[in-house]
C-alpha cells in the first residue's frame, strides 16, 4: 500500500466521522485534533475504523505519535507494510 493510498483511506475515514471537514483545508503538519472537533469517542471510532480498513492495531501508548496528519500517515505506512 503506497503512502498516497493510505492518505486517501485516512481522509475517507476521517470524513466518515466528521463530514463537515474539507481535506484541502487540513494542514498536515499541525495537530489534527486542533483542526477537527474530535471528542474522545470520535477519536476512538477513528482508530477502530483505521484498524478495520488497514488491519493495524494502534495501542494507546502510541497516541502521542499521531498528533498530526503526516506523523499519523508515516506511522500507518511503517506499521502496515
Amino acid at each position: 500500500m503506497t503512502n498516497g493510498e493510505i492518505r486517501n483511506i485516512v481522509l475517507a475515514v476521517l470524513k466518515g466521522i466528521a463530514p463537515e471537514i474539507e481535506e484541502g483545508e487540513l494542514l498536515p503538519d499541525r495537530p489534527l485534533r486542533d483542526q477537527v472537533d474530535l471528542d474522545s469517542m470520535d477519536w476512538l471510532n477513528f482508530l477502530v475504523a483505521l484498524h478495520e480498513r488497514l488491519a493495524v492495531d494502534i495501542p494507546e501508548a502510541d497516541y502521542r505519535k499521531l498528533t498530526t496528519l503526516d506523523t499519523l500517515i508515516d506511522y500507518l505506512v511503517q506499521k502496515h507494510v
Partner: protein
C-alpha cells in the same frame, strides 16, 4: 324417453365432433351397441350406448363440435310409444340442477405475526429512497403489508416535505433549538438547583485503564467515560434520591439507572438519550452501548424509548477542554453530573505534593428532592468508586 348425451371419452376431453351416426331413427339398440363415431381432439372413437331401446330422434348433426353432456339423441324405452314419449316430454320436470361444488375455499395465506420489537417495518427500497430523499423513514405512515412503509409512502412524504417551505431542513435545526430552550427554561423555572463540585484523583483509574487497554484489541478499548458512567450508576443505587423522575411535584425513585448521555450533534444541537440499566452492565458492554448510541444519535435514528426515559444525566465537556461544568437538570429528572477536563493536576496526597491525573466532577441537583448534604455524600461515593476501577 331416454336422453342420450355425448359421453366423456377421455380424461382431457371437454368437447367432441360427431363424425357419423351408426344408427337411424327406429333402429332397436341394446346395451353396448356402437351408435356413433366421435372425434376427440386426438382420435376417432366408437361410442356405445348403455341402454336398451329404440332410436327416436337424432339431434346432433355430423361435423358439429359439441360439449360433453349435450343431448345428441333420444330413445324410446322398450315398449314405449312415441306419442306417450312426446306427452311425457312436455310435462317433464326441469332437469335437476347439477350440484355445483362449493368454490374451493382459498386457504388464506398465513398472515405474518404482528411485528415484534419496536423496529418499524420499512421496505428495503423505502429505506434506500428515504436516504436519497432526506426523509426519516421511521416517521412516515406505512400503507404496505402489515403497515410497513413502502417507497411510495416515502416518495409521498418527500413530496409533502418539498411542498413545505424550503426552510424545512433548517427548520429541523430550529425545532431542536426550540425544544432545548423549552426544557432548559422549564428546568430553571421549576427546579431549585443546588450545585456541588469535587476534585477526583484518577491515578488508579488511569493506570488501570492503560493496563486494561493494553490487553484488549482496539475494538474493545475502554474510555474513561465508561468508568464515569458505571461509578455514577453504582452511586445512584446507594443514593436513590438522585436517580428518578419528578411528576407533579412528587419524586419517584427509578427501579433501574438509565443514564442520559449528553451528545453534541456535529451540525449543532444537543440531545441526551439514555443507556439503560447501567448498574448491571460491564464496562465492555457500556463501551459498545456508548459507541452505538453516539453513532445513531448523529445519524438521527434513535429509538423513541431512548429519548424519553433517562433517570439521570451526565455531561462530559472535558473533551472540549473546560476544567469543570455545572449543568442544567433535564426535567423531570432530579440530578445531573458534570465532568471537566481530565488533566495532570497538583494534588496533596498523604501530605505530599504530587502531580497526578485528576478531574473536576460536579453535581446539579433538585433541592425539592435532596439536600446538599446528600449531594456531597453522592459525589464522595463517586470519588471512592473511581479509586477502585477494577470493581467497576
Amino acid at each position: 324417453m331416454i336422453e342420450f348425451k355425448l359421453p366423456s371419452l377421455g380424461a382431457d376431453m371437454d368437447k367432441g365432433k360427431l363424425l357419423e351416426w351408426r344408427v337411424k331413427p327406429g333402429d332397436r339398440v341394446k346395451r353396448g351397441d356402437i351408435v356413433a363415431v366421435v372425434d376427440t381432439s386426438k382420435v376417432a372413437v366408437d361410442v356405445e350406448i348403455w341402454n336398451d331401446g329404440t332410436v327416436h330422434e337424432l339431434i346432433a348433426e355430423p361435423g358439429v363440435t359439441i360439449e360433453v353432456g349435450t343431448v345428441i339423441a333420444t330413445l324410446l324405452e322398450p315398449g314405449e310409444t312415441s306419442e306417450a314419449a312426446e306427452a311425457a316430454r312436455r310435462t317433464r320436470p326441469a332437469p335437476a340442477a347439477v350440484p355445483v361444488q362449493a368454490e374451493p375455499a382459498v386457504i388464506a395465506a398465513a398472515t405474518a405475526p404482528a411485528p415484534v420489537g419496536e423496529r418499524r417495518r420499512v421496505s428495503p427500497v423505502a429505506r434506500r429512497r428515504a436516504v436519497e430523499m432526506g426523509v426519516d423513514a421511521e416517521a412516515v405512515a406505512g400503507t404496505g403489508p402489515h403497515g410497513s412503509v413502502t417507497s411510495e409512502d416515502v416518495e409521498r412524504a418527500a413530496a409533502a416535505a418539498k411542498a413545505a417551505p424550503p426552510a424545512a431542513a433548517a427548520d429541523r435545526q430550529g425545532q431542536m433549538r426550540r425544544a432545548i430552550a423549552a426544557a432548559m427554561s422549564r428546568s430553571k423555572r421549576e427546579i431549585p438547583h443546588y450545585y456541588l463540585s469535587e476534585r477526583i484523583a484518577l491515578q488508579n483509574a488511569t493506570l488501570w485503564l492503560q493496563a486494561e487497554n493494553a490487553r484488549r484489541p482496539v475494538t474493545e478499548r475502554v474510555l474513561m467515560a465508561a468508568l464515569f458512567l458505571k461509578a455514577i450508576a453504582l452511586a445512584c443505587e446507594k443514593y436513590p434520591d438522585m436517580n428518578g423522575l419528578c411528576r407533579d411535584g412528587t419524586f419517584a425513585p427509578a427501579a433501574s439507572v438509565h443514564v442520559g448521555v449528553a451528545i453534541s450533534l456535529r451540525q449543532g444541537g444537543l440531545i441526551a438519550p439514555a443507556i439503560h440499566d447501567v448498574q448491571q452492565k460491564s464496562l465492555t458492554q457500556l463501551m459498545q452501548d456508548l459507541t452505538d448510541l453516539v453513532k445513531r444519535a448523529r445519524a438521527g435514528s434513535l429509538r423513541s424509548s431512548e429519548m424519553s426515559d433517562p433517570t439521570i444525566t451526565v455531561t462530559n465537556l472535558g473533551d472540549q477542554g473546560v476544567e469543570s461544568v455545572f449543568g442544567v437538570i433535564y426535567p423531570p429528572q432530579a440530578a445531573l453530573v458534570g465532568f471537566g477536563r481530565v488533566a495532570e493536576q497538583a494534588c496533596v496526597v498523604d501530605g505530599g505534593l504530587r502531580i497526578i491525573p485528576a478531574v473536576m466532577a460536579s453535581l446539579a441537583a433538585d433541592h425539592r428532592v435532596s439536600d446538599g448534604h446528600r449531594g456531597a455524600l453522592f459525589l464522595a461515593e463517586i470519588h471512592r468508586l473511581l479509586q477502585q476501577p477494577e470493581t467497576l
